[in-house]
Symmetry: C2
Subunit: 150 residues, 2 copies
DNA sequence: TATGAAAGGGACATCTT
DNA sequence: AAGATGTCCCTTTCATA
């Protein structure tokens, strides 16, 4: 993992369809070392996946909600069951165990307030171990990047 | 935007390096319609970017923190200034205007607790319009996907 | 670990139904 | 809107320094 590897990762995080040829020219190398370094980085696990990021608004999935949750029963088995149930919900895109006033933080995405309400009433309400929920509805997304600064 | 387009977007969100040939075989089509549909989806803005997702732990960027913020002065100019300052911080990967007890929610990434402390002491403290901060440190990432279910 | 050349396959354009 | 065909360029590999 030298500075060339870092610059390759930087580029791939911005545009993973950039050709090895273009990268080679940017980094003053030929295609072979670029190609081999990328393969090495993939095998070492640095690159997890190559994905397309979509426009949620155009797809009618504009409602984003963060849910702060506390659980009643912290015992291992109940806890695992709770995590499994939360992870299985398709609306939830991110789920974290956190420090602070709440135990868990979830990010969820919906196409309408009705869908969000149904999620609360049907999906979440059926999970028994929740003691408290505080929702933060996203009014505006001001910054979003998947890029990790190395 | 028919069901074939949806399945193409589904595939691209999982693996955007999949060849048109492979997708054609999965969707019982030939490469031409796949290729043309993808180009159409790109031009229409459904696909924003193609990116590589990296392993933060392997890169030594394991500390993730959510910051809940309230601002003192909500007037337009002060507010814009605040947003601009927050967006400019490289540690902050996501930033939202939210409803609820706090005004804003930021997701930030650090390589160490020291780096996080320096961020609070240097970067955040220099932003004058903040009245309250509550940090939620991520103890475990249980689910993370960029995928939007269509 | 890099360069350069060579083979194989996919992207992309065009034509056809 | 989808199928078929052909060209070009990139990916991938190999020999070599």
């Amino acid at each position: 993992m030298d500075s060339i590897d870092q610059r390759i990762l930087e580029i791939l995080q911005t545009d993973c369809l950039k050709t090895a040829k273009e990268m080679a020219s940017e980094l003053s190398l030929t295609t072979t070392p670029i190609y081999e370094r990328i393969k090495k980085l993939e095998k070492a696990g640095y690159i997890k996946e190559y994905v397309a990021l979509l426009d949620a608004d155009l797809l009618g999935k504009s409602i984003v909600v963060f849910l702060n949750l506390t659980v009643k029963d912290h015992h291992a088995s109940k806890r695992k069951e709770f995590i499994k149930q939360m992870e299985s919900l398709d609306s939830i895109t991110e789920f974290y165990h956190i420090s602070g006033s709440y135990d868990f933080l979830a990010k969820a995405r919906f196409s309408s307030i009705k869908e969000y309400r149904d999620f609360l009433v049907n999906d979440v309400a059926s999970i028994s171990n929740i003691s408290d929920i505080e929702s933060q509805i996203v009014l505006e997304e001001l910054k979003y990047t998947t890029k990790i600064i190395i």
